[in-house]
Amino acid sequence: MITKEILQIRSDIENNLRKMLARAVMVTELDVFALPCGCSGITVNVRGLELDDIEVFEKQMLSFFEEVASRLEIPPSFIFARLIPGSSVVAAINWRVLCDRCYPEFATASGKMPRPDIYIMHFERRGQKGKKR
């Protein structure tokens, strides 16, 4: 790919959010990550996005975010927004493929915000592909 493709995807995410919200939004960075625990995925650091925006346009955003995952060949099993704790400021959108160690942490939690810095947009429980919470 990969540099040209991720540059295009960064731009597409930014453009999509702008069209949705009718104002400037900035995707400051798109990162591919792999953690020592076994989790992997991508992170999009974003500026100009608030939790309210996600709550209002969650359905439309999620649909597009799943398309992004598909373009990067990442299973869209867990998509969440990372917030600055205690505020409505969205710092990043994460597409994370959970490892066996980290999966239970989220699978046993309840609600959209299991932590003050995480807003879950989509979580697939293993064996229940496609089920959203």
Binding site: K19, R23, M26, F57, Q60, V89
Partner: protein, 354 residues
Amino acid sequence: MTMKKRLYVPHPGHFDGLKELVSEAGKDIYSIFMAGSPDYVGTGRSNLSSPQIEDIREQTEYAHKNGVKVEIVLNSSCLGGRQLTPEGFNLIHWYLGQLDSCGIDTIVVADPYLVEIIARDFEMLPVVSVLSFVDSPEKARFYEDLGAHSIVVDPDVHRHFDVLHAIRDAVDCEIKLLVNEGCLYQCPFRYAHFNFFSHAFGPQPRPNVLDDYYYDRCIMLRIKDPKLITISPWIRPEDLKEYADITNVFKIGGRTHYVNWILNCVSAYTDESYEGNLMDLLDCPKALKDLYYISNRDFDGALDHWKNCPTICANCGFCRELTDRAVKVYAGGGTENEETVLWSEMAGITEVSA
């Protein structure tokens, strides 16, 4: 014809950076400024480096050999009270003595207590930081009476020429203007943010913080409405001459930037002219230089309005109109289809219904 002026220029702190600044722009630089070690007193910015005493001594000798003065910035807005304890006082006083022995010329502090100590006990001259928020003749006189050699005026009054003239008339000490800070006008985060910086980039223990709420919220506000960039009290290179009857001492902010960024600013403010994106020159919202293109030329003559502006925006609309006309947003950045679109054409038009 440009005015005769003294430029204080940011230095990231490493010797190679100083050598590059001096070799590329030494003749235009009156003084460099850089942070000291955060182990003793923090600063109002994040640090790219933390030069130790011997490094500062070597760099000072090198700068002086090349006709450039050296200023150290210890402008923590919160010392946590440590400075008032015997142990804290002794440690800070020892560190100030070490800096003084390096032969530095000036030292920037925000705490009045440190202004008084430095003026009384050391050869290096105390400079009152922009983080002392000197925005009135009364406050300026207070700091001068404490022993201030120079005062960096609160940028919030940069476009209030009556206040600037009153400050000039109230004191005999040097008045310095920080031309490109680019922070929000009347910023509601200012005290909390700089107090946070003071601890995050000051002596141990330092808070382990993942995200800077104040910065991210500030950036968000300016993404939602770039008029906040227009009304931010920066001074364009072309407008320096308008301040000639107040001071000829100007400070360029940006010690957390790369040297080539600093050199570009030095060139612009030396020449008092810049053709390009105004965002290239602003220190604080550097994250937005890849979002906005604002032609510096579109602001020609704006200061004539601001000089007489009562800053009651609801009754005016000048900055709104200027923003709508001048601010362009990069779209498709990093791809073959990169372009700019007017911010005013983007705002308010959604293609999606909730």
